[in-house]
């Protein structure tokens, strides 16, 4: 291969280092109004009244708009990818603190902000529920009735269901868990929890809508422009081609900027006032937009005398917050692999997406999988310790291998689980002597591995255009959020067309120009759009050959494209457009048993190994070494791929050690970068990142997605290493110094007082 596998810098590099890269954040249009949002101060309540008089009277305020104004424009103003449950502005009820209730529009954002301060609202407060397990009881109902969108066939049966906060229940049954558990030599049961945290992209959510004659253009920081177009068209009852969605580069996404966020709001506002409208959130407001699910995971395993896991029962409770967003799909799709990358004959999985009165939860770098790996890899380690078996040996004994059926019944293929484990173990020097520290500074080691089924079935469409001078352009709706997707597609097309990748131009998403793509999410783009680009390039290559034949050039000769065009059209004219759609095969799992022979077109695998030092006097944990390995098939652009792996692990390091949204009465009390600590440069341990030698045979040139794999193993590997160092087990994220100190003191029979 001449192009694929070459290390090349991103195509957009110059724009990014010079500060000239195009982000929606910067967009200003003539006559544009800025919207600032008035938000709910109560977690759950009926709206009694909203007083906008003073705001409307403020000099410079163009207009104040509430949910009732929106309802006059759109009778059913509810949106969402899985459920149509989220009103564009609150209607009748508010369901979480920070829910948008009204918008003030002004030419100057400072005046709009001042206007917001002049609005007041009265609510009839209702009791609120915040905990996912408590919300399983129907005492406090967040929604009266479920409103599935109909987009996904397997959610339709939920329509009209009421009297529950369970938005979705997913079940998997394989073998006979009860019987096998009863007959097992050992049974282990644990409950693990994860915290609510968030994406916190540095370009906060921002969307602009520009109305035109019979047209609406939306410029937005969004990872799924095709979905935005379809959903906006649905809300207004328009054909798709009346809506144009343009997405430049994104200042971070991580699964936050998916589906619809501010787009329906700016669209409605711009149509009402007939002017362009921009809404750009502050960092603080991001805490009220979308988050990562808090979870409770009860896991139980039956183990045979010789250390084989024979049965596993998993119950996962997902704290979905006040609106479904993509949460039901997270609960379902991550449910496929909740039992971990192990060969277990008897498995049951129950996964519940639950409404609560918190900020909604969606997908964050792993579509739920990091929460699951946290639980099953801590559990696995505890079993190994209890049985006195080396944690690596215990995993190897139980590992799921290619050719064996996974819990869903789908046979594992091209999943380098064993290689990833081996790579981590080899780099750790697992069998070499290890300095365990002394006195109050103790050292330990831990490993963890995880895997994921990709979200399926999803579609990607690509166009490859060869111009008359031979220069080539790729049109696709994959959003470059920083992962280097455009560069990877250029390498793929270049390989097919036998040209230099650096000479190819990749057009940023614009739904008037770039064809449909399901979304830039779940590590799907390189595989799905990569395959579409490969096929479109092959189509273009075929058409170019046909053009050569039309021009009377002898078959099999290798004329440069420019000469073919010139010969055919008599001058530099014409072009060749290759197109292709890619959608993998998929068999929906059985509704009762979750069984299917084809739940995913590929598996992602990631693992981590860490060495930690724990200060037993303070509980402070220092990660001394972090090793990450992943299976991305054959990497298309290896350097960029390693940065993906490393960046994902660093993000997960934050979710492991420091990041947590603190709630008080439904109000986030640490909604700023000052109080919500993300990793800084001083927090990064020495790291090693390895892409194992593997191949995804159905992927473009053997490749598959990687964006999330680096997150899988980090949290449990750290907890396992802490246990190894000081003998205490942390059951809940994040692992703060306080949590470790509490565990140490409790273990020593001298527990600290609460708070």
């Amino acid at each position: 291969m001449k192009q694929v596998g070459r290390d090349i810098p991103r195509l957009e590099l110059r724009a990014k280092v010079t500060g000239r890269a195009d982000y929606t954040h910067h967009l200003r249009l003539p006559g544009m109004l800025y919207g600032k949002v008035f938000r709910s101060t109560v977690p759950h309540g009926r709206i009694r009244s909203i007083d906008t008089t003073a705001a409307q009277a403020l000099a410079g305020v163009h207009r104040v708009i509430t949910g009732e104004d929106i309802r006059k424009l759109i009778p059913e103003p509810y949106y969402g990818p899985a459920f149509h449950d989220q009103p564009i502005l609150a209607l009748d009820k508010v369901r979480h603190v920070g829910e948008p209730v009204a918008v003030v529009l002004a030419s100057d954002p400072h005046i709009a902000e001042q206007g917001v301060q002049l609005i007041s609202a009265e609510y009839e407060e209702l009791p609120a529920v915040y905990d996912e397990v408590e919300a399983m009881q129907p005492d406090i109902l967040v929604h009266d009735v479920l409103r599935p969108a109909g987009t996904f066939a397997d959610l339709k049966h939920l329509k009209g269901r009421g009297g529950t906060n369970v938005a979705l229940d997913y079940h998997l049954r394989r073998g006979d868990v009860d019987k096998s558990m009863a007959g097992a030599e050992y049974v282990f049961e644990h409950t693990f929890k994860t915290q609510q945290c968030l994406h916190l992209a540095f370009e906060p959510f921002v969307s602009v809508a520009e109305p035109g004659d019979e047209r609406l253009t939306i410029y937005t920081a969004n990872q799924s422009p095709s979905f935005v177009r379809i959903e906006i068209a649905r809300l207004f009852g328009w054909p798709e081609n009346r809506v144009r969605v343009k997405v430049p580069y994104l200042g971070g996404g991580f699964g936050g900027k998916l589906y619809i966020k501010l787009e329906a709001l700016v669209a409605a506002l711009s149509i009402m006032v007939r002017r362009p409208v921009k809404i750009a959130l502050t960092m603080e407001e991001q805490f009220y937009m979308i988050t990562k699910h808090a979870t409770t995971f009860r896991i139980k395993s039956g183990v045979s005398k010789d250390g084989r896991v024979v049965a596993r029962a998993c119950e996962v409770f997902w704290n979905g917050g006040a609106y479904a967003d993509i949460g039901p799909r997270v609960a379902q799709k991550s449910g496929f692999t909740a039992a971990g990358p192990y060969d277990i004959e008897h498995v049951s999985i129950d996964s519940y997406e639950i409404y609560t009165n918190r900020t909604p939860a969606g997908a964050l770098r792993g579509f739920g999988v990091p929460q699951l790996v946290w639980a099953y890899e801590c559990h696995t380690d505890l079993i190994a310790r209890e049985l006195g078996i080396d944690p690596v040996a215990f995993r190897r004994k139980n590992l799921l291998r290619n050719g064996r059926p996974q819990a869903t019944g789908t046979v594992l293929q091209d999943a380098a689980i064993a290689q990833v484990l081996d790579a981590v173990v080899a780099r750790m020097g697992w069998n070499a002597p290890f300095d365990r520290g002394s006195g109050t500074m103790r050292r330990g080691r831990g490993i963890a591995i995880g895997f994921k089924a990709v979200i399926s079935p999803t579609t990607s469409v690509a166009m490859v255009n060869i111009s008359a001078d031979g220069s080539t352009t790729i049109y696709c709706s994959t959003v470059d959020v920083g992962q280097g997707s455009g560069t990877a597609f250029a390498l793929i097309a270049a390989e097919v067309l036998d040209i230099e990748a650096e000479a190819i131009r990749v057009v940023n998403p614009d739904t008037d120009i770039t064809p449909y793509d399901m979304g830039t999410l779940g590590s799907r783009s390189l595989f799905h759009m990569g395959n579409a680009v490969r096929l479109a390039a092959e189509d273009a290559r075929g058409k170019l050959r046909a053009l050569a034949a039309e021009a009377g050039l002898p078959e099999g000769t290798n004329y440069p494209p420019a000469e073919i065009f010139k010969k055919r059209y008599g001058m530099q004219a014409g072009n060749v457009i290759g197109t292709a759609s890619y959608v993998p095969t998929y068999n929906a799992p059985d509704a009762k048993t979750g069984q299917s022979d084809n739940v995913t077109p590929f598996w992602m695998v990631g693992g981590s190994g860490v060495e930690v030092e724990v200060d037993t006097e303070t509980g402070k944990v220092r990660v001394l070494r972090l090793i990450n390995a992943a299976d991305c098939g054959k990497p298309i652009n290896p350097g960029v791929a390693r940065t993906q792996l490393s960046g994902a692990a660093i993000m997960q390091l934050g979710f492991t050690l420091s990041e947590a949204m603190q709630l008080d009465g439904g109000q986030v009390t640490n909604a700023s970068l000052a109080d919500y600590k993300i990793p800084g440069i001083g927090d990064i341990p020495p790291m090693e990142n390895e892409l194992v030698d593997a191949e995804q045979h159905s992927g473009p040139f053997g490749a598959k997605g990687l964006g999330e794999s680096g997150t899988f193993g980090v949290s449990p590997a750290i907890a396992n290493a802490i246990h190894d160092a000081v003998g205490v087990r942390i059951m809940e994220l994040p692992i703060t110094a306080e949590a470790v100190l509490r565990a140490l003191r409790a273990n020593a029979g001298r527990p600290l007082d609460d708070e």
Binding site: V17, G19, Y23, G482, P679, G680
Partner: protein, 153 residues
Amino acid sequence: MTLRPINFTLNGQAVSTAIEPHRNLVELLQRFDLLGARESCGQGLCGCCTVLVDDVAVSGCLYFAVWADGKCITTVEHLDADGALSTVQEAFIACGAFQCGFCTPGFVLMTQQLLKANPAPSDDDIRHYFAGNLCRCGTYPEIVEAVKRAARA
């Protein structure tokens, strides 16, 4: 709100304008279509809005625009004013020291400053100097490499 006239040097050129006293430096720069300094956290913690004022790095989100009066303001856009990328920018490209690129101008400007004060920084020097710049994509290891590469160049 009253407009206050200000005169300052912007990327080597003398400029005059008038601005309300509540606006910050990032907003001022937007008027000159300089968009490399971006307000993100709004608290001076992330470094995305880094601007040089009389050759000292400041957080543009916390620096009032009127304070620019009489000062010399330099933004990331000035680094390749002659059409060629600076050594630091070349090093960031060579090391792949960014993903989404939103925080990159701040890191690039701070690297220029660091290398001016300390031409051969150690890893610890680099980590200490970048305590006020955050990267949500987590490209810190690549950034440390880029700074060292620029120092060697």
